[in-house]
Symmetry: C7
Subunit: 271 residues, 7 copies
């Protein structure tokens, strides 16, 4: 398709009222590995896939703690996520300093949303190239939000972003009714199952490629990595995989989407 | 049609004196789901269609409360609406602080209009990509205004914006004489009927896709969502639908307009 | 005609010394509905046509009061007119505060003219897309000025702007000698007759499409709308129409000009 | 002729060292009606042609008083002339305030020249589109200067700018030796004759199309318009016209130049 | 491949969500000579290849000391590296001044990462054209980080950047398990072997082309150059080369990569 | 020759390392009339040709006095020269105020050179379109400098700029050895002879087209114009012309160069 | 070769990671005449070729003294060199004022390098178009540095820049081992021989085209010009020329390089 002149910056509408640069930023998210979030009445959980695991180095962080009651999972440009995370940390510290309380989740989420919107309406900047799942607990209980480069933020019971995340979303849609009353353990397992569904056919969740974070009422945000997730994977193994029913559909996934995993080297998407 | 050079920014007139970027911004509004507003001598009502209802998450807000006497319904880019809403909230708070009174509706509406006009006359910004219906009550009674990205604001007895809103507008035009003296309940039902007329042929208003807000003299702005609208829909069901007379025309609606509902994924229009 | 490169901004002269963007701005004025102003030794009068009258909503204001001795009629982009009106109001308030007198008409007119000229000589802005007729009374008596986007302002005995305003101007040219000594009533009727001549063949002046404002020595600026103009129209009806002699010429008007009335939906020209 | 890339702004030299935008600005001057200035040992005189005289309105000012000892005639964009005039007025007021004397003519002329030069060397502005004849009297006697958009200013014994001004200049060149010792009346008549020579074949100087201003030692700058110039025209009528000898040449003037008078509607050149 | 319009600045996403200018900056790194870093439980080591050794002049620095506990190796544009190094030095001095301690490695690394990210999201700058390996020791022990122009930073056990660095990385991947418990000497030898593997087939490590730096717990950052590395090379010589197994693969390296060594004259890559 | 993209602003090098806009600025100088400067052990002299002498007006100044010990001759855009002259005057006044001495010639020359260089290295400005010969006397004796738009300044014993100045330069090269010990009168005559050699074949130096300025040790900078140069021309007449030997070469001068004299009307080069 | 879009400013990487504008700036250096620098244990020497020697004027300075312990030789755009020299002088003065010592050579060299790097990473400026050889003596002995427009600076034992400097560099490479222990006289002769090798076949070093500067421990920076270099040239004459062995190679030099000497007129390269 020929799109002339309308897709070079984020301050130009196309004749159809679209802002292509914002849409292109979403593509950067799709090149990041998958992340899943979900929330019960007592807990919020983030699980994420670490891609291109290299033994030599640390993984690109997929989950970042912001405060004791708050953290994010990301898909897309990691440096952009770091900038947004730092901003959230400042907001959180300000709240503790000025109001002597942890920042409410909705407030900090709206703060980054407003920050992101500016980049879609002023010349000379580009939209953030990263999506975030924000999980936290505040006076009104546990919350899960999704942030997008457009400045759109929505609260979810369960959400998934990144490469092949549609499969994870399908799992969440089928099981979300169980989330509110799920125990801490059940909630994590739901998350892992959803994440597992986003894997390519020949991949499995391992201690090497899974990051996991839990925050709850009375439980501080904590990130589990490497051997720390072994117990969870073991419990997951003893549960039934939904992969059988997913196989055909995954096989039918377009090669491009599946192949985006290898593209990680050319651009610093989180992987 | 070939439009060379004149539609890339909002500071360039076409040879016919048009500003295409402002017109393109109107297209973003048309991609949002429909919203309807109407006003009687005692009340102002907003009803809106929540599109792409997903069980996993919250709906993109179609109606936003600004103050106890004031709220907006939106169609178009939700992040732009949030920015404008926040600005209205600041105006409202200032009024209470400085003048010890709720901000007059006309004043706050003109404030966002001026803010929007700036983006149509200075390089390096884009017009807001959202339309608003502003409903409120002040010392001069209930009011309904429509805001457009051009910075144009007009007061209406009844108004409709968003996808397929022409059908809703037709309903309003046929019935507006009854609005001034309508009771609170009648006014809401008029709004729901207008909204129902904007639905595609095979859709119905449900507790899942309707948002509703009422503000009146002596009644604070209140948003009704989900089960809270069940009673209203029940009452609506027992009234006669105007859909029969509308059918042929709706069926003739261009596929593109009807299909814009599915387009919600590619851009953050409110849906 | 091919005009390459010279018509994209208002800081570039064409090889013939023209500034096309300023000329294009004049086109926006022509898309607004007609407005007429005229002045006698004692009064200044503005009459204007409200276009696309919709029963649902208020009309886009065609006449705006600035101060008790001063008001404007507009044709073109309404939001631009609002910005200029607000600016005039500030000038007027400043005059009362600082000099304890109503601002002289010529002074406030030159103020907006200078403001407009800046937009024709600095990059990154566009010319205002609106023409104004400014009517007021000051220590030197009643005055009528026309303002154009170029920053040009001229004082007139009678003037007309907007769609099909040439016909109104023809009426004014034929009758202007009677204006100075016309009574308040005669002056208004002259204005209405001129405005009537700008109507399309099959249209008539009605309480629904006429706005009218009068300011005079000892008479504050007052706007008459809707039923308030009924008396005037009745008086007008009993006078002889000049339409007979105008018919052929109006019929010969280009379809485009006549059809611009329907174009009001695509751009926020005043209508 | 194809001029690629070098004529879009005033900060780019052509390969031949020309700045086309400045040259194009001169074209705007040629579209204004003619103005003539001349100076004797005791007086300086400005005469100018008011074009497109419309009975409805005031003429676009061709001559503007700046101070009691100083005024200008203009050809080109009237709003630009107003901006420069205002600037000269400020300079003049400053001089009276700070130095307690009328501003020297050369000083104020150089001030606008420097102001104009800036617009020919910095990006984002355009050259002024107007030429000025500045006439004034200071401690060193009467002076006449010509100002051009390039920032060039030169002192003259007699000068002419605007449409068809070459004919006026020819008159001045033939008669300039008589200027220094001319009486006040003779000087004005020389000016009118020069101006008359710039008229198209079928036009005459009338009280309706001539503006005239005189400033002298002991005589404050005064503008004569309308009936005030009747006496001068009467005296002129009794003198011999040089038009006979000019006829053939004027008839041979290119249609474009002659026709530029009608072009006044499309752009706000002074007319 | 034709990439239209999306690769001219770092504030434009391609339709696939890529930022080409950032990717092009990575190419500048690949044109620099190789650098290798690795870390044990007690030490961090940097080794680097000095290219185009010219007897006349000093080598372009490949390793730069920042503070007594901290230094960097670079590949790419040397002037950009100097700017970043100076910035790191300031950070380090600030830390000592304000907090009376050496700056933590992670903190200073994140500081340059944030600085670099800004250049990828704001118009009018270019991304830094250099990669860095940061080696240091702080309260949490020895660390090695890699910095990229995108603003991405990752901690590694062993890392290699610059021309032909893939071969070095292969060595590191095969031997990294030995690094944590390696002695100071063993660690250096691992580094030199990895670096040696990045050489073209007919080159050898010599005192003329190797730079080496060591920092450890209780051992300040120290750079070894020229004859100072002779002992290390001697020890290396007595160890077994892995080049045999590498030969075929190196021979198969694209001529372009191998030839980039000669390209050093046209651009100031570090060499 | 096709020069794509490299000649539109002064901040872009061509692939050959040239800055075309600076070179184009030199062309503006060549369109000005010739100016010659020369210096002895006791005096510095400037002579210049006033072109397009018009009886009606003053000549465009070719020589401008800056201070009692300092003046300039110019070729090129006169308004640019005025700006630079004013700047030199400020420098000179500052020197007298701050250091109580006339500004040293080299210092003021370097000040304008630096000012000019900025315009060749920063976007949004254009190089000055004028060349200057600066003649002055300070504590180190008489000096002559040439200033160019590139910001280059060089001291000369004799120099010539402007149209056909090569012929003048040839004279200077043949006679410069006589300058140091030349008397005041001889020096002037050398200058006039050089200037005469730059005339077209059929032109002569006259009191109408020659400007002349002298400054010396104990002799303040003084400009001679019109009848004031009559004595000098008389003395020149009695000396032998070098035109005979120059004839053929001048006749062979390209028509374009010779014709540039008539081009003075289209652009405000000094003439 | 076609290089589209990547070579117009210094903030755009080419797909190969090159910054063409910086490379083009190097071309400006190659158009300057040659300069040579070299350093012993006690002295640093600069020698340079003055090109296009004109008897009328001073030479464009090829060597500039900065302070008593410091000076530079330049090749490329002389005005850029002057700007950088002034900056170095300020640095030097600051050092004396603040620290009461001559500025260390490395420090002042890095200061201009950082200044130059900024112009390669920020939009709206161009890289400096000049190369410098910086010779000086500080507490650590004599030093020679080369500065390039990229912001790269390297210390050398001997270095050569400018037109045909490769031949000089070849001489330096063959003889550099003798430099450290060379006497003051020997060092100068080495420099002159190297410079002589950069001459075209039919040129010789003369008192008219050689500039020379010496600085040493206990010997202040001093520039020798004209007759001051006669002694040195005499001594050189009695030494054996290396030109015989160089002839063929020089003859084979591309005409373009050799011809660049005549190109000095079109652009203000140092010559």
């Amino acid at each position: 398709m020929f799109r002339n002149n309308y897709d070079n910056d984020s301050v130009t509408f196309s004749p159809q009222g679209r802002i292509f640069q914002v849409e292109y930023a979403l593509e950067a998210i799709k090149q990041g590995s998958a992340a899943v979030g979900l929330v019960s009445k007592t807990h919020a959980v983030l699980v994420a896939l670490k891609r291109n695991a290299e033994e030599l180095g640390s993984y690109q962080k997929k989950i970042i703690g912001i405060d004791t009651h708050l953290g994010v999972a990301l898909a897309g440009l990691a440096p952009d996520a770091r900038v947004l995370s730092n901003f959230m940390r400042q907001q959180s510290m300000s709240s503790r300093l000025l109001y002597n309380r942890p920042v409410p989740i909705a407030r900090v989420v709206n703060a980054i949303a407003d920050k992101a919107q500016v980049n879609t309406q002023h010349y000379g900047r580009r939209p953030y190239g990263v999506g975030l799942l924000v999980a936290g607990v505040d006076e009104t209980g546990p919350h899960l939000w999704e942030f997008q480069p457009s400045g759109m933020v929505l609260e979810y019971r369960g959400a998934a972003i990144g490469a092949r995340s549609q499969s994870a979303r399908t799992y969440l849609e089928r099981n979300f009714e169980a989330f509110p009353d799920a125990s801490r353990e059940e909630l994590v397992l739901h998350g892992l199952r959803a994440l597992r569904d986003s894997l390519a056919q020949d991949k499995e969740l391992t201690t090497a490629n899974v990051s996991l974070a839990i925050v709850g009422e009375g439980e501080k945000f904590k990130l589990y990595d490497g051997e720390e997730v072994a117990d969870w994977l073991e419990k997951l193994g003893s549960t039934q995989s939904s992969r059988g029913s997913r196989g055909a559909q995954a096989a039918a996934a377009p090669a491009g989407a599946s192949g985006s995993g290898e593209g990680g080297d050319s651009m610093e998407v989180d992987a």
